[in-house]
Amino acid sequence: MKTYAYFPGCSLESMAASYHLSTIETARALGIELKELEDWNCCGATAYFHIDEILAHTLCARNLAMAEKEHLDLVAPCSGCYKNMYFTNAHLKKDADLAEHINLALSEDNLQFSGTIGVHHVIEVFVHGVGLEEIKRRVTHPLKGLRVAPYYGCQLMRPRKDHEDIEGPHFFEELLAAIGAVPVSYPPKLRCCGGSLIITHRKAALSMVRDLLQSAVQQEAEVIATICPLCQINLECYQSQVNREFGTELSLPVLYFTQLLGLALGIPAKRLGIGSELVSPELALASCC
């Protein structure tokens, strides 16, 4: 059993609790142990980088140092957390001066960054670590023909990390196909959900959400699958506000990819946090599961 240090991130303690549940459940079913960092802190999201860069890196470095202490690679289910910690890790490995500065601060919590671990997103651990063949082998309840829009969002692929193809990735589609679903062609799969603009520039963000939803409807998707709590919240929880703002009648369920994967692995819906949606996926799931 491969073990990783698990960084849930703040959203997974509140609005995205179902992502937390379904990540833990699916990982276990795939033979991966996720050991939660015992005293993790916020990665700084985007807002902290508006205030101070070095402080933002320090926040991430504390989490990295705790994972290093356990000699485990770090895994994050939130694309934003993943991106922040990936780049702090990369910057500090390259910039000894910055690392020295930040280590001085980390010593106050008896921690040191030495650059000994890697940072991964949960979907990478499943697709590349476990492998699609192995996942396919473990599927007991294939999602017979469920039409799913694979929504990658921004931060997993951008800025460029170690992925080869950042403009046309297809591993998410392959994962969906491996669990028996039908990945629809989804042109805006790498477009932004609006992120925190939903608070700071509501109308702009709502119109970005509307475009993403409408495109999925056009492709006759029955559900959108996300890999990031912010994407899920913007696309799902703000759907009713999109409808009121633009006079649309959108009603498209948005689930975490771990929830769909979990269903295919035979995990009961309730243990995957299914049932806490504002746009019910019941109808879509009734035909396949």
């Binding site: 802190n41 402080l55 320090t58 601060a105 106050e108 608070i199 520039h201 806490s276």
Partner: protein, 187 residues
């Protein structure tokens, strides 16, 4: 003779940890603006902002709402044919503008960033349910009602906890932060 750095040099220096080419290699092709999902809402496109920085139009840049509309999706950064990290430049401009306390009236972004940062310094974690109420009154009546309905629905589904989570080693955590900004008062 010692001269003050120009605005464009200052912005270049803001990009301390950013990877990528200096702003001055921009050839004004506009790829950033055309790929930006928020550009239609900005008063100046990302391309125009870079031109304005190069022309040292400091007051005009600081009066722009453009960088506050950046959601940091990095579409511009990965597609810039000159390799400029435009999204990180937008972060740099936000920091510069907050540092100078100079931004257009009526923007939520600056206040949101400050509150967010304060919350993390205090508790080590972000807890949006406590942050959002300060801003929903900016959303107009329809927005306010929409936000309240969404919040109620989330609460009924058990997705809005009332008690924020905090880091456990709070004292160490704050001492750590005060090492980076020495004037910050440790707990």
């Amino acid at each position: 003779m010692i001269t003050r750095p120009s605005f464009s040099q200052e912005v270049a220096n803001l990009l301390y940890a950013a990877e990528g080419s200096p702003l001055l290699v921009c050839m004004q092709c506009g790829t950033c603006s055309s790929t930006c999902p928020a550009a239609p809402f900005m008063d100046h496109s990302p391309r125009a902002i870079i031109a304005m920085i190069a022309a040292d139009l400091k007051e005009e840049v600081l009066a722009s709402n453009a960088f506050w509309y950046c959601a940091s999706c990095y579409s511009c950064t990965v597609r810039c044919p000159r390799g400029i990290n435009i999204a990180d430049m937008m972060y740099g401009l936000k920091r510069y503008s907050l540092w100078r306390n100079q931004y257009p009236q009526g923007l939520i972004g600056p206040d949101f960033s400050r509150r967010f940062a304060r919350m993390i310094v205090r508790t080590g974690k972000s807890f949006e349910p406590a942050l959002a109420p300060a801003f929903i009154f900016h959303a107009g009546l329809r927005g306010l009602l929409g936000e309240m309905r969404t919040a109620l629905a989330l609460f009924l589904k058990g997705r809005l906890p009332l008690i924020p989570s905090r880091v456990k080693r709070a004292k160490n955590f704050r001492r750590m932060l005060s090492r980076i900004i020495p004037l910050a008062r440790p707990a």
